[in-house]
Symmetry: C2
Subunit: 314 residues, 2 copies
């Protein structure tokens, strides 16, 4: 399998990306072939410094970089030789099986949606985040910001995509799906949640267990939680801020350490036709390592094939 | 001023309600006249036990109680002699100036909306919560669940109501108002937030400072934060759960102690024509004391008169 890595994306690139490659190679006896996409003049000395043998990787020279604050569509159009543009080109043409970047999030989204495109039948691809539960387990929350306004059917599809991810990637068999809502019983919530409840209840591709209130999000009540991207993004950012505040106040506890979202590597764009993984701008070596592992697992388990089958494609 | 207190509402009533009266009388040399509404046979011995002189309070006998899990409208209709029904009757007829209960929340909402009614011009009354900021200050978040679906103008009105509350009750001059949103700049967010932004920006009754992301909610960026009741309720319940989880894990820190929402007493229904305060079911003496103080302050500062003036009533 061939996994493409944008070496120029993220606040600490390319050094931390190279560090991630080193960590990944260390742990794998027969690793994936890594396509390192970036400025070869910057990459060569780092690869030497980190003792990465030329045979272990393939360098794809990309003379341009899309900055973290550039306008996504404009930058993708104008910078054809950027690491992100080249990455999507290689992914869509089948030369790579997955593409990873911690660079400009908007450009990664636009590339995923327009150059890779949604799986047939998926109305709206989504991004999720892992939520650390108080009992040590981990749940998946989606959408966390890609889709600020949703229709009920979007949430229903997020549930299917999230369940497949939880099953094959997180290793949770028959994952419990909950609807983020206010109030416990059916019929509660806003109009969207009320309508989504009915769809989820009647969806035999998932194991729907009902509503998840704000107080349940950090408890081990469900494995997959669905909501529109507005609420999901507020939850994610609030959870991230709790980590920052506890750190700043020197409140140390294992539980809060798990709110360090860097631990989780990156987040895949679920519902697009090929594996695309987006990392935090602040990604360090460990995050890059985790993203490569995640990409390899998505390919190994044929997650995309299973998603396509779920939506009636073969 | 006459303040009515439902002595039968809450998980620990009437004992903790009586305890709250005791605490309130202790600290005030010329207190408000308290109307204690409840079963006099249960109240009399407790008043003696807590050494509350008969002259200091007025007992209003209410032989019925609306249970915590009764259907609100049905219970209010059928139990005319319940403490909540009598409380709203005395408030609407002008015999009391404020009404407080930690009882059935739904019945309190229905009573506030239908027996007291909204201030003329207020489309949707709202309930808020105090949010403990990491620097020790406190912000107001509204709506937290009364209005799961909102129009942009609702959020605009919540901003006006919240600003007046922050100014006169919390003592924050010229309070900063933020819109809960995803993304920092104007134009970000879902359709509701985008439209609400425009209204808030052009509202000269408030000091609008822009969007508040999830990561800003616990920071001292704004004094008043507005959103629809779906997102607000998720934020509130998530924050409450953090207090519970830290307690359970024995993570002790002053900051998390401030997430104990019992400290804050109760929440007023903002936008109805008279002061109505709803307490947590788990209210103890201190919470009742705080609710009486809050009611007295709402009357003292003529908060309702100021709200009416803001909406063009005189």
């Amino acid at each position: 399998m061939n996994i493409g890595l944008d070496m120029m994306g993220g606040d600490f690139a390319p050094r931390e990306a190279v560090q991630g490659v080193r960590l990944y190679l260390n742990e794998n006896s027969s690793p994936a072939v890594l396509f390192l996409i970036g400025d070869q003049h910057q990459l060569q000395p780092l690869l030497q410094e980190f003792d990465i043998p030329p045979a272990a990787v393939q360098i794809i020279h990309a003379p341009q970089v899309i900055g973290m604050h550039e306008h996504p569509t404009k930058a993708l159009k104008e910078k054809k030789d950027s690491s992100i543009s080249i990455g999507f080109h290689l992914l869509s043409s089948g030369k790579m099986d997955a593409f990873i970047s911690a660079g400009n999030t908007g450009a990664m989204m636009v590339g995923a949606l327009y150059s890779i495109k949604a799986i047939e039948g998926v109305q709206r691809p989504t991004i999720g985040t892992l939520i650390p539960k108080e009992n040590g387990t981990t749940g998946l929350l989606l959408d966390v910001g890609l889709n600020a306004d949703c229709k009920p059917e979007n949430l229903n599809q997020f549930a299917v995509l999230g369940s497949l991810y939880a099953n094959h990637i997180l290793g949770i068999e028959n994952p419990r799906v909950g609807l983020i809502n206010i109030g416990e019983e059916e019929g509660k919530g806003n109009l969207l949640a009320q309508a989504a409840y009915t769809l989820l209840k009647n969806n035999n591709q998932i194991r729907f267990i009902g509503n998840v209130e704000g107080r349940d999000i950090l408890l081990d009540k469900t494995d997959v939680m669905v909501c529109e991207g507005f609420t999901g993004n507020i939850i994610l950012k609030l959870a991230e801020s709790i980590y920052e505040i506890t750190h700043q106040k020197k409140i140390h506890h294992d539980y809060f350490e798990r709110f360090n979202f860097e631990n989780y590597g990156g987040t895949p764009v679920l519902g697009v036709a090929k594996p695309v993984i987006i990392g935090h701008g602040i990604s360090h070596g460990k995050a890059f390592q985790n993203m490569i592992r995640l990409a390899a697992k998505m390919i190994d388990t044929d997650l995309l094939g299973k998603m396509k089958a779920s939506f009636g494609n073969n």
